[in-house]
């Protein structure tokens, strides 16, 4: 009995005063103290939180083997078994920082990202449409970033000494073949797609991933929207046309569908603003699109986007080879694009990203030589004039299939690999003045395989290493292109990156059919980048060197065209670029500045020697300024684009030398363009308003500064004519209405 009493007493003693103290210090793996760390004895209330010196201490009445959990947001949790006896326990612990996308260095050399979510993005999705010089055109907004040229006489992105055909555009991983409306002489056409279709854009000015190929200079990677926030309808009316659409979100918010139609007609605009060209067919376009998006159980997406358009344009310009004759040029175009993609998790840590796309493009192009009374001139017997009466029909069909498999390995490191198949079938018929027809058909099957790995050694050091192999039937050879990028975090907000890669590209369509034995053209990129970025401030500089090899040299074909003859061309480009964006220093004002210096030379096509190409200005700069005045519900945007003069050449066949030579050359005047846009949102903040309206006024080249892009030469070289914009200024006025949801954020649309 007595013994029992003693035991109870001892037990009682233990439970009341038998508290064991557990204490220690918590640090990171660099021995810096960590505060706010939770230390808890699993399954009990006992535990503590470390203080600013990393110290913690608590007492417990638990006994024998227990598990201690040590955790802190952003660090890997640690579980430690401890044996609680009668002695106090001292336990010092070091925690390892988690490698997370949020903290890790961003592999960014060469790339500009426009996104609302991703870290490292320099533009938001909205910036693309509120940059006044872009006129709401997706790719034009990127001309206010370093690396691109202010080329106004033709469409596309001319990046770091490369031609526009060296830049390729991808939608959800699939190549978009006819991203722009068909070229017209001397006038840059717009991109076909509405900028609001995309939630994110990566514009790579070099050194891009092995997942993409067939572009010597640049890849523009567009990522389409996921589900819309709400069901809504919208209507737009502007000086360039009318449009409307519906986006319908299913009740369970798991799927959506949408259709839209847009009719563009420039009759009103061209009557109000005099155009240099004399239009007999005012530009008219019908564009329709449809989409559906289905969210899968595991958070993946099945997405379809289909596009159909038909457009016409026809205009007269004076003929450069004569005093009073004119050329009447017209295009009738039909274009379709279908894109189906699927991405999902497939178990075991694997992700799949796959897609197929089909597109067709048909152009009926016609040129006629006219007299003063706009009558067709058919009685000339001079070949120079006879050949100006021609027609050209192009019919292209493209298909692509693609898959990428990805697996996370340890933290955020990953491996991915996959394959691409591209089919192209391009048929063209060239009809001469005398009815003689030249038809050619180019088909190609291009297979590509690629593999890539992202390696995050720590939050501060990451590498992306990959390679791509391609086989094109036209070339009938394999190529292998290695790609490497490294990124190292210098301090919390700054990092240095390096990228290297080899890029291959087939001859563009107009240089085909090529001579036998033709090879891929090739470019090697070396990029060094320094970035400092906080939420409100970005500074980035890039130094690059690009070496071109095996560029295509051409010979004359039988219908006045030039065909790829051999790979004797070469070139190089080097330069330095600066980008500065500041949203903080001036209240309510957001501005950015970009500058590019480019030193490039190349010998390709019919160039007689290595020269600075006509699309390369030495200095290019852009300044964009935005301010939203809340009480007025109005946004004011201003942009100034500048470039020094570009060289121009008259490269003509010299019959005495028996080869092409530079008959004349010069440099254009500097390029200046000041543009403004004003967006007025009258229903802003009216929560119960049934519709949301945005009024837009945009003026391009407000000051009417004269712009000369290049010069055209007459056949005999005696006369040159400046290529200038179709009108001094362009004024856009439009109203965009949406019903069903408040579109404050994305409503500041310019032109659709």
């Amino acid at each position: 009995m007595k013994q029992l009493l003693i035991i109870t007493l001892i037990l009682g003693f233990l439970t009341t005063s038998g508290q064991i103290k557990i204490s220690g210090k918590i640090s990171d793996n660099k021995n810096k103290p960590l505060s706010g760390v939770s230390i808890s004895l699993k399954g009990t209330y006992d535990g503590a939180t470390s203080d600013s010196t990393g110290a913690y201490s608590f007492t417990t009445t638990e006994q024998s083997t227990q598990q201690l959990e040590i955790s802190l947001t952003g660090y890997n949790s640690l579980f430690q078994n401890i044996n609680i006896g009668l002695e106090p326990i001292t336990l010092n612990i070091s925690l390892k920082e988690q490698i997370t996308e949020l903290k890790a260095v961003v592999i960014s050399a060469g790339a500009f990202e426009a996104s609302d979510k991703n870290k490292g993005a320099v533009l938001s999705s909205l910036d693309i449409v509120t940059t006044p010089s872009a006129n709401g055109d997706l790719t034009s907004a990127f001309k206010s970033l370093p690396g691109t040229q202010q080329v106004g006489e033709s469409e596309g992105l001319f990046v770091r000494g490369g031609t526009a055909t060296e830049s390729k555009i991808y939608m959800d991983g699939n190549l978009v073949n006819n991203f722009f409306f068909t070229s017209t002489p001397g006038i840059a056409t717009r991109g076909r797609f509405n900028p609001f279709l995309f939630k994110g854009t990566v514009f790579s000015t070099g050194g891009y991933s092995a997942l993409y190929g067939q572009a010597l200079s640049s890849a523009l990677i567009l990522e389409s929207n996921d589900l819309p926030e709400k069901t809504e309808a919208d209507v737009s009316v502007s000086v360039v046309g009318v449009g409307g659409g519906i986006q319908h979100l299913a009740k369970d918010k798991k799927s959506s569908w949408g259709v839209s139609y847009n009719y563009a007609n420039l009759w009103l605009a061209f009557n109000a603003i005099k155009q240099k060209q004399d239009y007999f067919q005012i530009p008219v376009a019908h564009q329709g699109d449809a989409n559906f998006r289905i969210k899968t159980k595991k958070g993946g997406f099945l997405k379809y986007y289909g596009y159909l358009s038909s457009n016409k344009v026809g205009f007269r310009t004076s003929d450069i080879d004569s005093i009073n004759l004119k050329n009447a040029f017209s295009i009738d175009n039909m274009n379709t694009f279908q894109n189906l993609t699927y991405k999902d998790r497939i178990g075991g840590g694997w992700k799949i990203n796959t897609g197929i796309s089909f597109s067709t493009n048909k152009d009926d192009i016609k040129n006629e030589l006219l007299n003063e009374d706009n009558q067709k001139v058919t009685n000339s017997n001079q070949p120079l004039y006879q050949f100006k009466n021609f027609s050209l029909t192009n019919l292209s069909r493209y298909a692509q299939a693609r898959f990428v498999l990805e697996k996370r390995i340890k933290g955020i490191s990953a491996i991915r690999f996959g394959s691409d198949y591209f089919y192209s079938n391009e048929q063209s018929t060239y009809t001469l003045f005398n009815g003689a027809k030249f038809t050619d058909k180019i088909t190609d099957h291009l297979y590509a395989g690629f593999a890539e790995t992202d390696i995050y050694l720590t939050n501060n050091l990451a590498a992306k290493v990959g390679a791509r192999a391609e086989h094109s039937q036209i070339i009938n050879k394999w190529n292998i292109a290695p790609r490497v990028s490294l990124a190292y975090k210098l301090a919390d907000n700054s990092q240095a990156s390096f990228a290297y890669g080899i890029f291959y590209q087939n001859p563009e369509r107009r240089l085909l059919p090529a001579a036998a034995g033709i090879d891929y053209s090739k470019a090697a990129h070396y990029i060094f980048q320094y970035t400092r970025q906080t939420k409100d401030f970005t500074l980035r500089t890039e130094l690059f060197y690009k070496k071109y090899d095996d560029l295509y040299k051409t010979v004359s074909g039988n219908s006045g065209n030039f065909l790829a003859h051999n790979n004797d061309g070469f070139g190089e480009a080097k330069g330095i670029e600066l980008f500065w964006r500041d949203k903080k220093t001036i209240k309510n004002v957001d501005y950015w500045f970009s500058y590019s210096y480019l030193d490039t030379k190349r010998d390709f096509l019919n160039y007689p020697k290595s020269i600075r190409p006509s699309f390369a200005a030495r200095h290019t700069a852009a300044f964009v300024f935005k301010r939203f005045v809340l009480p007025w519900k109005t946004g004011f945007n201003f942009s100034y684009n500048f470039a020094t003069g570009r060289p121009y050449y008259n490269i003509a066949f010299d019959s005495t030398l028996g080869k092409f030579a530079i008959a004349d050359q010069g440099e254009t005047i500097n390029y200046n363009n000041v543009s403004i846009s004003v967006n007025f949102l009258p229903n802003l903040g009216k929560k119960d308003a049934r519709s949301f309206a945005v009024w837009v006024l945009g003026i391009n080249n407000v000051l009417g500064q004269s712009q000369i892009f290049t010069y055209n030469y007459s056949n005999n070289g005696n006369r040159k004519e400046a290529v200038t914009p179709p009108s001094k200024r362009f004024v856009f006025i439009g109203c965009f209405l949406s019903f069903g949801t408040d579109r404050t954020q994305d409503a500041i649309n310019n032109n659709l």
Partner: protein, 213 residues
């Protein structure tokens, strides 16, 4: 003596479950009493969140400690000056409130915390995140009101967000005060189900009312 031991033994067994919930109430009460003072510093509030989380993980079936742990974490997120750390803290709060939600579904108080978490994410970059997190925050407040119309806290949170919303967007003191007054009226009638249930906010509403004069 024998009887006494037997008695104490019986007593021990019979009071065990009771002692368990007594221990829970006591620990909760102790922390709730200290909670207000902890709001003065970021480190104290995270420490308080950890205290609640330990209780929550030990109990497993009680929604309240998860709720308070999330509440302290989200307030810690609001107090964090380093914007790059806010999302991590708010995510931690989300994990905790999700557990409270599964233990007590359709709970108006839980919806309030979800709204606060969305707001803390939004505050990192209001211009860019307004559309996504603003909608999530107000959606949860609407849910909170629907789940329990007598709860004064959703009206307090609504009023608070209206104060910081520009007038052009339908915010400002004028509209905020309507919500705050509704909240005050509901506080007068509000009785928490137990002394451990949420009963915070009245003081904050009164402070905001003063600020809005």
């Amino acid at each position: 003596m024998k009887k006494l031991t037997l008695f104490s033994f019986v007593l021990m067994i019979s009071t065990a479950p009771f002692a368990q919930s007594e221990k829970f109430s006591a620990a909760m009460k102790k922390n709730l009493d200290a909670m207000e003072a902890s709001f003065k510093s970021k480190t104290d509030i995270i420490s308080m969140a950890n205290n609640f989380e330990r209780i929550a993980n030990a109990e497993k079936n009680q929604w309240l400690p998860f709720y308070y742990a999330a509440f302290c974490q989200v307030n810690g997120a609001f107090m964090e000056q380093d914007k790059s750390k806010v999302d991590g803290i708010a995510d931690k709060a989300s994990v905790l409130i999700a557990k409270a939600d599964s233990l007590s579904p359709n709970n108006s108080e839980v919806s309030c915390i979800k709204s606060m978490i969305a707001s803390s994410h939004m505050m990192v970059d209001p211009m860019q995140r307004w559309q996504e997190y603003g909608a999530e925050s107000s959606g949860n407040l609407e849910a909170a009101i629907a789940q329990d119309p007598t709860n004064p806290r959703p009206y307090y949170l609504k009023g608070q967000s209206l104060i910081y919303t520009p007038e052009q967007f339908g915010g400002g003191c004028k509209t905020a005060k309507i919500a705050l007054q509704t909240s005050l009226d509901k506080f007068t009638a509000f009785k928490p189900a137990t002394e451990l249930n949420p009963n915070w906010g009245k003081q904050q509403v009164e402070n905001l009312m003063k600020e809005c004069k």
